[in-house]
Amino acid sequence: MIAYEIICILFCGSLFAGFLGSLSGLGGGLIIVPLIVLGLNVDIHYAIGASLIAVIATSSGASAAYVKEGYTNIRVGMFLETATTIGALSGVFIGLLLPAYALSLIFGFILLYCACSSFFSIDVDHLALPTDKLAAIFKLDSTCPPNSQVYHVQHVPLGYAIMFVAGALSGILGIGSGVLKVLALDRVMQLPFKVSTTTSNFMIGVTAATSAGLYLHLGYIDPLLAMPVMMGVVVGSFFGARLLPHIRTKRLKSLFGCLMIIIAVQMIYKSLGSG
């Protein structure tokens, strides 16, 4: 394909992906990889490299907006990043051993899981919980706005283990693993929902940067693909975040979930066809 075409197609596609990603809260990585693999018929290894770059860009962009709200728990984030970064390193090396069709297959199933989980988001309040021993040792408990309410972090070991898996998946598939991270923070460790999402976003950038460094040295990150993707995603998610307060997200979320299921099935179908 001609360079002009590649850049234009990728920019427009990523613009769309970033826009939908920030509206649905699922991030762009899950759509970028199928977009490049299915849309441009590019080898999935390149797609993963480009997607990691997009993930870092969205995470950095969103942090700037989130920080004003003051929800991020930096200690929890940093503590769990020891798990996600080691997971990411392992993930990259595991990914190297896997053939392209296996990667597409795993990607398809993860996408399917994330799509389905987007239909069942329950907002639970985690208040009046007992203090956890490990959480106290690592000073994980904190307060959150608006009333400086105190929250106690629970089930640290299980949360830590899930974070390792999230990091590994991020390294293997080039996604931010935001869904899994929020699952660990919100459901398992029982942080308030807003704290979970912002802390997860804080961690996503660092996890993706760990994988991206290795991918760069392996030759997976091609600027011809990564540059338009990173531009498109940033611009798209910027407008998505602007529009977010003005629309009803519930219907959009289910629409987006359906779209992701279709893409997931296509990824699985493609991998079975070539494997």
């Binding site: 394909m1 001609i2 360079a3 002009y4 590649i6 850049i7 441009l40 590019v42 080898d43 290894h45 390149y46 770059i53 870092i56 860009a57 995470s59 950095s60 962009g61 942090s63 700037a64 989130y66 920080v67 003051g70 930096i74 200690r75 940093m78 990043e81 020891t82 970064t85 080691i86 990411a88 390193l89 990259v92 392209a100 690592f138 000073k139 307060t143 950038g205 660092v206 940067a209 760990t210 994988s211 991206a212 460094g213 290795l214 760069l216 040295h217 392996l218 030759g219 997976y220 990150i221 091609d222 600027p223 011809l224 693909l225 990564a226 540059m227 338009p228 990173m230 531009m231 940033v234």
Partner: protein, 124 residues
């Protein structure tokens, strides 16, 4: 202490914001230059070539930039983008040190070490 943390957080978000803007600008300039130089060239990404493709290490990128190659300048922007979360973790180490929270200096320092390992893999 919470105030310090809050101040630190705002500082951290600025690190990310300007890091992002800078890397986008560099990558954009590189992209324009690249299109001007190789816009009509044809590319095939169907089969992964890995290391055969250049620009997988810092030396190649630096060489390319010295020769005003758009490709290398785009890659520099991407390198800057990868470096922004690293800068953020480094800033965290610093903030924890200011708070005399040495356990977290250790934890953040460990994360920083892993990031350096990956960023400088096979470089030295």
């Amino acid at each position: 202490m919470d105030d310090e943390m809050r101040y630190g957080e705002i500082f951290l978000s600025k690190v990310l914001k300007y890091g992002l803007i800078l890397s986008l600008l560099i990558a954009f300039l590189g992209g324009v230059l690249f299109l001007w130089q190789h816009g009509n060239q044809s590319y095939d990404f169907h089969v992964f070539k890995g290391d055969l493709h250049q620009l997988a290490n810092f030396e190649d990128i630096a060489n390319g930039i010295l020769h005003y190659r758009g490709f290398a300048i785009m890659q520099l922007g991407i390198l800057f983008l990868i470096a922004t979360p690293v800068a953020r973790v480094a800033a965290c180490v610093f903030i924890f040190a200011l708070q005399r929270d040495y356990m977290y200096v250790g934890i953040a320092g460990f994360v920083l070490m892993i990031l350096f390992y990956s960023l400088f893999w096979r470089t030295f």
